[in-house]
């Protein structure tokens, strides 16, 4: 056991702030996206196989599980993409003030919510 110091983002100690939610959501969406890599390969494998394989992959995409997966993938990807750009800009030293960091965290979270609603309507 490493006994020195608390674990890094100590959820139970820090106050919930947009910046903290943005960081945790980045990890969560990242974990989700890792799970979608095998799914993408499986889909590609099916879609490039026989016409029956393609039809099976197509039908799976239109099944409830397929639609939920597409929705989750879309939301996780949008969020991780936008917040990733936010992190890169922070690394570059842009918008580093506390107020700007909170504002940009709210903006990326807001974009993810909008995309979640739009995808839910469209899919």
């Amino acid at each position: 056991m490493l006994s020195h110091g608390p674990m890094s983002p100590t959820v139970s100690i820090y106050r919930w702030r947009p910046t903290m939610i943005a960081s945790l959501a980045h990890r969560l969406s990242g974990l989700l996206l890792v799970l979608f890599v095998p799914l993408y390969l499986w889909l590609l494998h099916g879609m490039t196989g026989s016409p029956e394989d393609f039809a099976a992959a197509f039908d799976w995409l239109h099944s409830p599980l397929g639609k939920i997966s597409l929705w989750l993938l879309g939301v996780a990807l949008t969020y991780h993409f936008c917040n990733g750009l936010r992190f890169l800009s922070l690394d570059a030293g842009w918008c580093e003030s506390r107020a700007m960091m909170r504002l940009s965290a709210k903006v990326v979270l807001g974009i993810a919510v909008i995309v979640a609603i739009v995808l839910a309507v469209l899919l």
Binding site: M1, L2, S3, H4, G5, M7, S8, P9, R27, G30, L31, L33, V34, V37, P38, Y40, L41, L43, L44, H45, M47, T48, P51, F54, A57, F58, L61, H62, L70, L73, G74, L77, F81, G84, L85, F87, L88, D91, L123
Partner: protein, 120 residues
């Protein structure tokens, strides 16, 4: 504050940090493409012949190869940081990070084999 040398697997934090960002930039450009491809198939905008035309192309193979390499680098570093933050037990860390490396390399090789076999 006392500085402690944590038994993390990164020898230098800067190097990991740099590779994580480099892979992030590659992924920011490439990762949306597979999503749009799947959406195009979902909506019926691209049928199987259209999809094969897109994929059976040197450029598509090259982009997929870059994508999987950047994905492995980025996902490996990202998951490693999460393990190091939330798993205080060294045994679990080493086991999970090690198996992650094995699974990801195997997966990457499988992926590359499939990509370069298209239409061949």
């Amino acid at each position: 504050m006392k500085l402690t040398k944590e038994p993390g697997s990164a020898r230098s934090g800067i190097r990991d940090w740099y590779w994580q960002r480099l892979a992030a930039v590659v992924l920011a450009v490439l990762l949306p493409l597979p999503f749009f491809l799947i959406i195009a198939v979902y909506t019926g905008g691209v049928d199987q012949l259209g999809l094969l035309d897109l994929l059976d192309h040197f450029f598509s193979r090259l982009l997929h190869t870059l994508l999987i390499l950047a994905l492995i680098v980025h996902a490996y570093m990202g998951l490693k940081v999460i393990f190091e933050d939330y798993l205080p037990q060294i045994g679990w860390r080493v086991t999970l990070i090690g198996s992650m490396l094995v699974v990801m390399s195997g997966f990457g090789i499988w992926w590359l084999a499939i990509i370069w076999a298209w239409g061949g």
